[in-house]
């Protein structure tokens, strides 16, 4: 099938501001949008820039805004997009070139919430035990691949780029609710900040954007509840 890709282009070496460019590609219905982007890059316009690596939705490189929704280009099939597809870089991040945005501010926020297991006890010679139910509590949030689709879909983040954002809260949740972790209070302190969880207005855009189908708003809600009612010791 023939599809028109309308792609937002920006080359900082020649452009003052982003502009649109259209490409027509011949694709199979089962092709990924990433395949269509490769067709453009490999056979029409080698200057088009986008990130990609695994091509099957696990590395998180190719999050972009596709027909106004944040998705991974490798995890959406052409059959689901229609004959005209609009592709933009993730919103809320500085554009580097075309569909490539600066992810440094995103990873800075990730690093700010202490994204590592904190446990002050000396480890046992074998594994620490964990009940299957305790493990299940972090099953959803440990799936996060840090693609940025959720944070970039969040109107609260657009309004205030200082907001730590849903992805960082998901990562904090993954440790706060891990029965082996002892750093909950340190993280809750960080998230109780004016740019922490309270910026979330439960708009739910993040849930629709997450390619890993993480229930992001629920995770944020659990962190909020913990702050309000039940501060961990």
């Amino acid at each position: 099938m023939q599809v028109t890709l309308k792609i937002q282009r920006f080359n900082p070496e020649v452009d003052d501001k982003p502009h649109w460019k259209e490409y027509t590609v011949d694709v199979e219905r089962t092709d990924r949008l990433l395949d269509a982007l490769h067709q453009v890059k490999w056979h029409q316009d080698g200057t088009l820039a986008f990130r990609r690596s695994c091509a099957h939705g696990v590395c998180g490189s190719d999050a972009m805004t596709i027909n106004s929704v944040n998705r991974l280009a490798c995890k959406v099939l052409m059959a689901d997009l229609g004959s005209r597809v609009t592709i933009e870089p993730l919103r809320g991040f500085p554009i580097i070139k075309d569909l490539v945005v600066d992810m440094e501010p995103f990873f800075d926020k990730y690093r700010s919430i202490k994204p590592y297991l904190i446990n002050y006890d000396p480890p046992p010679p074998a594994e620490r035990y964990q009940d299957a139910e305790d493990r299940a509590r972090i099953d959803d949030t440990t799936k996060c691949i840090l693609c940025g689709a959720c944070t970039s879909s969040c109107p609260s983040f657009w309004g205030n780029p200082e907001y730590v954002g849903p992805a960082a809260i998901v990562q904090a949740h993954r440790f706060i609710f891990d029965s082996r972790d002892q750093g909950a209070n340190e993280r809750l302190e960080i998230l109780n900040d004016r740019n922490g969880v309270w910026r979330c207005r439960t708009i739910f855009n993040c849930v629709g954007a997450c390619p890993r189908e993480i229930d992001v708003t629920r995770a944020i809600g659990e962190v909020k509840k913990l702050l309000l009612f039940n501060r961990m010791v």
Partner: protein
């Protein structure tokens, strides 16, 4: 730009990150990655990491060692396999202590499940050895190691593409890298360099490998006279999604999934009466090809079915949720109901940069080290995988030998000073970039790459025969000539991924040449190297490792012996 660190690590997958953590505060360390670290392909590993914890049933590291040696068709170096399987146990505990969210048994221990070629009592039957976190074990390992690096303030250079290794008077003294954001060339002076750049599967058409897996480290080492060991052994994983190559983990079969041909027959009963669908990957991939050749592919075509529908929705959703997600996304099917169409997919290079068990790169059959140069993970060849890697052992490899390389580097940097950089250290890298940017020969990177991938898949795949490999080698030579005449449209300095793809294609071409040449020379069938014209294993003449050098006049092949300590070679049946 100029930087100076005690150690520079290239690659931020499991091996590179694990080495960085081992170095800790013992020296200044920089980790370069052409991606963001969490995009590394370790994150795509699914089924588990093998270690004889014995959490669900009796298990011993000696059994794991035997399986690794036999799985590698006795080409595995047994001194290294012993280290791999002994140290697997403590490295898995270490990952758990760092927070890795393994699935758990009813009593709270790390959960384990069966995997291909892993047995109890030296081959008596399948054993639960694969420690897992659903079907996203690699993701959890990568995340956990990166988290620890954040905690330890490891210094990363994200989106830097390595271009050259610097050697002065026989000692490695740094490297040159390309900053993707700006197009600037950076020199990193270092006492030691570790390559942990991952695989090279993108030389094949159908592959489970990420686009990034273009053998950067091995190809650069090769250009400096380092040989490549055992490149003829490339693993084709039996169950890739038909046409796409996306991996369907062996854990599907570990949980009880079975392979069926067009007659609905569980054909592995004929090929592997004891381990059935959990035979090692080389054997299962060959079985699938033979079924297709005999007209028993589904609808007479080039695939078979992987059936997990009898496991029940609960098992599918709990144990292989990502597989279910891939099937839904890319095939529109539900593995709790429908069979999955699968075919072999190029998956893993057993060969690579020759190293000893401490990650030191070895230059020849006398095991002469190149001081200051280390390699670990898929880009290295220790050799723990021999002629065929067992499932779960790649994740063991990266943490065990990443850690050991880190330890030896710590010793090396304490004992050695910086070596002066060679004059014009950046000239080679700058010339390559300038040549590619300004070449106007009209050849296309995409066309050459597509032709390379097709000829390697067709002619140097699961089954091999002399005339086809010969043709592949000649074709690669033609493609190398055409590569000299490629032209790029993007001449810019900012995020020029077209330039990077051109550089990567150059790496792939060199490694494909050596793969084909090494395969052509090995006149026997062993592990993943299966010759129709030499169907038997030949220990008398070929129980030895290949060392392939790239010289001015072509490929030079040398050989070195295999370490055999505990297990004498025997016929390999399952």
């Amino acid at each position: 730009m100029y930087h100076s660190f005690d150690v520079v690590i290239v690659g931020a997958g499991g091996a590179g990150l694990r080495a960085a953590l081992e170095l800790g505060q013992l020296g200044s360390v920089a980790v370069l990655s052409k991606l963001y670290p969490t995009r590394s392909h370790t994150g795509a590993a699914q089924g588990g990491i093998g270690a004889a914890l014995g959490n669900s049933e009796e298990d011993l590291w000696e059994w794991h060692m035997f399986d690794t040696v036999k799985g590698g068709d006795y080409l595995t170096d047994q001194n290294a396999a012993e280290i791999l399987t002994r140290e697997a146990v403590e490295t898995v505990y270490e990952l758990e202590h760092w927070g890795l969210p393994f699935d758990r048994t009813a009593d709270g221990k790390i959960a384990q499940r069966p995997f291909g070629g892993h047995t109890h009592h030296f081959g008596q039957g399948a054993v639960r050895r694969s420690c897992y976190a659903a079907d996203r074990t690699g993701h959890m390992i990568l995340q956990t190691l990166y988290q620890q690096c954040v905690r330890n303030n490891v210094q990363f250079f994200d989106e830097y593409h390595v271009l050259d290794l610097l050697i002065h008077e026989g000692v490695v003294c740094g490297l040159v890298a390309y900053h993707i954001l700006t197009g600037e060339i950076h020199t990193f002076r270092a006492k030691a360099v570790l390559f942990a750049t991952g695989g090279m599967g993108r030389m094949f058409k159908i592959t489970s490998n990420a686009h990034a897996l273009t053998g950067d480290g091995p190809a650069i080492a090769l250009r400096h006279g380092v040989p490549m060991q055992d490149l003829e052994f490339f693993q084709f994983h039996p169950t890739g999604i038909r046409g796409m190559g996306i991996l369907i983990t062996e854990a599907v079969r570990g949980e009880g999934g079975i392979l069926l041909n067009n007659e609905g027959e569980r054909f592995m009963e004929r090929y592997s009466p004891t381990l059935l669908d959990l035979a090692p990957r080389d054997i299962v991939s060959r079985a699938i090809y033979l079924e297709e050749k005999a007209g028993r592919g589904i609808n007479g075509q080039d695939y078979v079915n992987l059936d997990a529908s009898h496991l029940g929705r609960e098992v599918v959703e709990a144990k292989i949720p990502d597989i279910a997600d891939f099937c839904k996304t890319y095939l529109g099917i539900d593995p709790a109901v429908d069979p999955m169409p699968v075919q072999p997919t190029a998956h893993y290079a057993m060969g690579g940069i020759p190293t000893d068990v401490d990650g030191r790169v070895l230059m020849d059959e006398q095991n002469t080290p190149l001081p200051g140069f280390y390699a670990a993970g898929e880009c290295a060849c220790v050799s723990v995988h021999g002629a065929n890697r067992l499932g779960t052992n790649s994740l063991v490899d990266i943490v065990v030998f990443g850690r050991r390389a880190g330890r030896d580097i710590a010793r090396f940097i304490a004992q050695n000073d910086f070596t002066p950089l060679p004059a014009d250290s950046e000239s080679r890298a700058r010339e390559e970039v300038e040549r590619l940017l300004h070449s106007s020969g009209g050849e296309s990177v995409a066309d050459i790459r597509r032709e390379l991938q097709a000829v390697m898949m067709d002619n140097v795949g699961v089954f091999r025969i002399e005339p086809q490999m010969q043709a592949a080698l000649e074709r690669v030579h033609q493609l190398q000539e055409r590569y000299e005449r490629i032209s790029l449209q993007d001449k810019g300095a900012t995020f020029n991924t077209e330039l990077l793809e051109a550089i990567e294609l150059g790496y792939l071409l060199d490694l494909a040449e050596l793969t084909a040449a090494s395969a052509l020379a090995r006149e026997e069938s062993r592990g993943a190297h299966s010759r129709e014209d030499y169907p038997e294993r030949d220990d008398e003449n070929w129980l030895k490792h290949t060392l392939a050098y790239r010289t001015g006049t072509g490929v030079e092949l040398r050989y070195k012996p295999v370490s055999i300590t505990r297990f004498q070679p025997k016929p390999r049946t399952y």
